[in-house]
């Protein structure tokens, strides 16, 4: 009798795989996963997204770097995700080391462990990854038997709260300096150099590299930073972000991985541009990814076709911070609609401004009856929208809603923030009134016989968290109680509206926002709290079911770290901020000017209207060199 192969060549035995929730998270072997002969590569790179598989597999940045590294013949890049809580317990109990998916080999055997930091609430998961891998949590305790632990992603624009856990950080876009870093690693190894020598040379020679152990910080009596700088003369004082200027020439995954499990983003993702011209003052992405750089239409067509062919995915989604600002959107969408109709592929168009064009396109590609439209006014009143530089007027919102209702939509989602600088009770009342006016538009625009059920407005509020490298980096943030009071007022105000039954209101958890605020603008002293909280069992803090605020408060108290110091203070212009040694291309003076204009409620034009001299022009390309209306004269 011929029996099929059931030999287990995985890191986990059958009995463990069959006892956990979704064993497919841990087996690798997905379509388009890269297999190499480990004896024939010089460098093994473990790329980690410190959250559960279905989340991590949805992340575009990892797929880009996976593609880039594996194009190098001498490198094998594999993936690592956080084991879910069930497997976490088993790995600890059975003392099984954490492994990478492709080879199923222990992470500790790798040359590098790269961890992407996409949101602050994953910080305890970093420690879980290190711990389960058998790598000392503090970089200073690591020896030759440990991989070099690298941090990357948007949160490294303030790496200080996690600085002691990393050997180095890569600041900016990964496509430019990694090869240089890897070559240096090989060279150092061949010359018999040790870990310390590699880190020192990386800090000195490779652009965009921050080695926290080579920098020292001192504090004043009031707790603010007295000095921050390198411990040696030959290590750079500031580190400028890395940026890829020609996006048509950077590696892009034309064969993205196709997971067995349904990921959060179950579609191919087409990145159309990086950066945003808008300059909303609360938005970190709008500053740190400057300047806007577009991909050419030809490149995008090529990638779209290749990705669909190699994955068999049924949906394609455009990725950018503001798709409507892509200069050739109409042509791109026409092309996609044509090819996708033929192949029965759905098109998903997030981050579109609601106007006649986008409604027309969405009407063609989506089932209007099922879908809802999203507006992000962020603030209820025009006054506060001016403060945050959200150049969206109530007139535009109501017109967009009217067009949408006339086009058959009856569900609208609205996103707002509570606790923005200068916010008053009146601004909160305006959130409720705006929702009410949008509901009223429906009854004005759509005659009774054409109504597809009653209108549904879903208003969601998140709590404003000041982020580094934004004009609001100097602003104070609300306390948990203040947040909850504001959410309570919003609820009350909505309840007072004529159309209140048609408005559903959701708000975020306030305690998670408080922690996010501390991690966003914290310094190295916050690392003690993260370590302490992890030791108390905090893990998967972004997941409501495993978030324990009480344990976090204990950790803060035991470490003598005051939440209010980080969240509730308005910073002065001359205070040294923990991230001031990084240069994201946008100058501190520009951000300060924007902070002042915010307080004066003055709008700032976007990059295509008029250059504000933010500093991003130094990178020598992108929107900064486009021909603009104001350049004609």
């Amino acid at each position: 009798m011929q029996l099929p192969d059931f030999q287990n060549r995985l890191a986990l035995p059958d009995e463990i795989l069959l006892s956990v929730e979704k064993p497919a998270r841990y087996i690798g072997g997905e379509i388009n996963a890269v297999k190499k002969d480990k004896r024939r590569v010089a460098i093994r790179f473990a790329m980690c997204f410190p959250d559960v598989y279905e989340i991590g597999m949805s992340h575009l940045g990892i797929q880009i770097l996976y593609e880039m590294f594996n194009r190098y013949e001498d490198v094998w890049c594999e993936r690592v995700y956080s084991p879910w809580l069930d497997l976490d317990r088993i790995l600890r109990k059975e003392k099984i080391p954490l492994f990478a998916l492709e080879s199923q080999d222990p992470v500790k055997d790798f040359d590098f462990l790269g961890i992407t930091l996409q949101y602050e609430m994953c910080y305890t998961n970093i420690l879980q990854i290190l711990d389960l891998s058998g790598i000392p949590l503090l970089a200073k305790n690591r020896g030759a038997d440990c991989p070099i632990v690298i941090g990357g992603g948007p949160c490294v624009y303030n790496p200080e709260p996690v600085a002691p856990f990393f050997d180095l950080f890569y600041i900016g876009e990964g496509e430019t300096a990694y090869r240089q870093l890897l070559d240096l690693y090989l060279e150092n190894k061949a010359a018999g150099g040790d870990r310390k020598q590699f880190l020192l040379r990386a800090a000195r020679e490779v652009p965009g590299i921050y080695v926290p152990s080579l920098y020292d910080v001192t504090y004043k009596e009031d707790g603010t930073i007295a000095s921050f700088g390198p411990v040696r003369e030959d290590v750079p004082k500031t580190i400028r972000k890395e940026i890829a200027m020609d996006l048509d020439r950077v590696p892009y995954p034309d064969k993205p991985l196709v997971p067995y499990l349904k990921p959060v983003q179950d579609r191919v993702v087409l990145e159309i541009q990086r950066g945003c011209i808008r300059g909303c003052r609360f938005c970190q992405a709008g500053q740190i990814y400057r300047p806007v750089r577009e991909k050419s239409l030809e490149t995008l067509k090529e990638y779209a076709a290749a990705m669909l062919k190699h994955t068999g995915q049924e949906e394609i989604s455009l990725n950018s911070l503001s798709s409507s600002d892509y200069s050739r959107l109409e042509e791109l969408v026409d092309y996609l609609m044509e090819t996708c109709r033929e192949k029965k592929v759905n098109i998903s168009l997030p981050s579109l401004r609601i106007d006649a064009f986008s409604l027309d396109v969405m009407g063609k590609v989506q089932d209007v009856k099922k879908s809802s439209l999203t507006f992000a006014p962020e603030a209820g009143s025009q006054r506060l929208r001016d403060v945050i530089n959200k150049g969206l007027t109530e007139e535009v919102i109501l017109q967009g809603a009217a067009m949408a209702f006339a086009g058959g939509w009856s569900r609208v989602k609205l996103y707002f923030m509570l606790g923005l600088p200068t916010e008053t009770e009146e601004d909160i009342w305006e959130i409720a009134r705006l929702c009410n006016r949008i509901a009223a538009v429906y009854y004005d625009v759509v005659p009774k016989e054409k109504r597809n059920g009653p209108v549904q407005i879903v208003a969601s509020t998140s709590f404003f968290i000041p982020k580094p490298f934004t004009p609001f980096q100097w602003a104070s943030m609300c306390t948990k109680d203040a947040f909850l009071q504001k959410a309570g007022l919003t609820k009350h105000a909505i309840h007072e509206q004529l159309n209140q039954k048609r408005i559903k209101y959701n708000w975020h958890e306030a305690d998670v926002s408080v922690l996010e605020g501390v991690f966003a603008r914290g310094d190295r002293r916050v690392a003690d709290v993260i370590l302490k909280a992890y030791e108390k069992g905090c893990l998967y803090d972004a997941w409501g079911e495993s978030f324990h605020y009480d344990r976090w408060l204990e950790a803060f108290a035991e470490c003598g770290v005051d939440i209010g110091f980080y969240n509730s203070r308005t910073r002065s212009r001359d205070e040294i901020l923990p991230w001031d040694f990084l240069d994201c291309g946008v100058s501190r003076d520009f951000l300060w000017k924007e902070w002042e204009r915010a307080q004066a409620q003055i709008l700032t034009p976007n990059c295509r209207q008029a250059c504000q001299g933010c500093g991003a022009r130094q990178f020598g390309g992108g929107v900064c060199f486009e021909k603009r209306e104001d350049m004609d004269s």
């Binding site: 029996l3 069959l18 497919a24 499990l261």
Partner: protein, 238 residues
Amino acid sequence: MKVRIKFSKYGALRFIGHLDLMRTFQKALRRADIDVTYTTGFSPHQVMTFAAPLGMGLCSIGEYMDIEVDSHRGAADLKERLQAACPEGIDILSVRALPEPEPNKKVISAMASVSAAAYAAVFKDGTRSFSDWASQSEAFLSQTEILSQKESKKGTVTVNLRPGIRELHVEDGALVFTVDAGSRGNIRPEQVTECFFAFLGVRVPANALQLIRLELYADRGTPEKPDFVPLEALGEEF
């Protein structure tokens, strides 16, 4: 045209659940550029049905799915292209056309056809063998009642497996058996091995066995005189 595809599932794919297997095939068919028929309506999907879900951890050399195609270049071409698009752990074993139904009748789908399933059980680590108990299989089958306890929402239910066990013997160190499946009344292979060990008075640790589905059968006979044929036998070469 309706096409019946027989495939195997083994190796690490033992840990892929049924829904994920379906998703895997949906995408594989698209990568293979097979001209699958889509349902009409606003969100069209591929016309595709599976015969019987396979439990997590099991492997199989007798899985079936039916698809419908608008055009094709022959079974060999279809098989080759689908195989090339499948991950390691799925082998396409046969591709056959289901005959056009008689007027006013519908094609009986793979799922509706299933009446019985054959399984093999072996010890994963190879340290033990069912050959030790080869002589007891007849005695096991000669019982009038083989009672199996099943946990359900309403508490423990006892069912008699004996009428549903069509055949059982030891072969090459494996316990091989055919049991009722599908709408006729589904017997899980674990129920049979548990009862067998209980009969022998032998204790076997959980997960010691690997269960393998060998074949799925349709019944062309009558309730009194069943005639089990593999599902692929209902299709034709093309």
